[in-house]
């Protein structure tokens, strides 16, 4: 995985004006610049690959449509976070409905599992892998908040705005997420 905070930092200074007028060449540059960041964010929703692909494409298209009218009230990267977050949430909802409809007929389609299985984490030697396994068992909001905070370097207020919640709720999600990860991975402070 290459979508780290370094890449996000590099794109955080860009503005909409850097890609306007929105010619094909500028649109191509926009896609090349942000597709990695967007793909990384969308992947954290843990959707099947074909749906992840749809969400990434939809996010990029929505961003390109809106770019000429982007007023710069927030940073371009924050605006993109918001689009990918909304698209990701919509896809998760659609996927859950689809999964619930198909569950009795096709149990192997159950790509996302809501049930935590702590036994999967026990016995994993590598700490990174251990955390990754444990992350899969966190609720979406806690997992996404941890990703935005530790990976993308967003502050609590920014995450609250992005996820449509309050700063206190985000702090609580972060704390509960960390506590649950410690519990599952048994990693010392």
């Amino acid at each position: 995985m290459r979508v780290g905070s370094l890449k996000v930092e590099a794109t955080s200074t860009l503005t909409a004006a850097d890609f306007l007028p929105l010619t094909h060449a500028n649109a191509n540059r926009f896609v090349e610049t942000f597709s990695l960041q967007i793909s990384g964010q969308v992947a954290r929703f843990r959707l099947p690959p074909d749906i992840t692909q749809d969400v990434v494409q939809e996010t990029l298209i929505r961003a390109l449509r809106g770019l000429p009218n982007f007023r710069g009230d927030s940073k371009l990267s924050t605006w993109l976070y918001r689009i990918s977050y909304r698209e990701g949430l919509r896809a998760v909802e659609r996927w859950k409905r689809h999964r619930d409809r198909n569950r009795p007929l096709n149990p192997e389609i159950d790509f996302r599992s809501d049930e935590a299985d702590a036994s999967e984490v026990v016995g994993v030697q590598d700490d990174v892998l251990k955390v990754r396994k444990a992350m899969e068992q966190l609720p979406d909001n806690q997992r996404l908040a941890l990703g935005y905070h530790y990976l993308d370097g967003l502050g609590v207020a920014e995450i609250a705005e992005l996820m449509g919640s309050t700063a206190n709720t985000i702090k609580s999600w972060l704390k509960r997420g960390r506590d649950r990860l410690r519990e599952l991975t048994e990693i010392e402070v």
């Binding site: 995985m1 094909h24 992947a43 954290r44 990029l60 992350m135 990976l151 990693i187």
Partner: protein, 134 residues
């Protein structure tokens, strides 16, 4: 930052992400879809946009004409009031001052209304079409 937080700062802890090739392919597809969509918008929009432009121009020209009419009536009231007073009294018609005041009042009203329409209606119309064009 404790050990867990350090691990959380590692992108690999957050799960699998698509490969470079996948990301490039998705970006390319998105760009193609956007280009097709954009072409469709551009091929259907100009006619409507020309209409909005013409409406916009017509209203502003009408406003300019009304302002000109107002200036002419103002000039008329200053230059011909004395002579007109004399001739119109004979024919028992309204005086030139009354006439020019009426004309002035009407032209002010007309130009104000047209300018108000121009500002209130055509700007949103223009912005609407520009938004549609992306």
């Amino acid at each position: 930052m404790d050990k867990l937080e350090q691990l959380l700062s590692n992108p690999d802890s957050h799960g699998e992400t698509p490969s470079d090739e996948q990301v490039r392919a998705w970006g390319k597809k998105a760009l193609e879809r956007w280009a097709i969509e954009n072409q469709d918008v551009r091929s259907t929009a100009p006619q409507s946009n020309r209409f909005a432009e013409r409406l916009h121009e017509a209203i502003y020209w009408a406003g300019a004409a009304a302002c000109l009419a107002y200036l002419v009536s103002l000039l008329y009231s200053y230059t011909s009031s004395a002579a007109a007073d004399f001739s119109m009294v004979e024919w028992n018609l309204p005086s030139a001052n009354d006439f020019s005041l009426m004309l002035r009042a009407n032209s002010v009203l007309i130009s104000a209304v047209i300018c108000a329409i121009g500002l209130a209606v055509t700007r949103p119309v223009r912005e609407f079409w520009l938004r549609q064009l992306g």
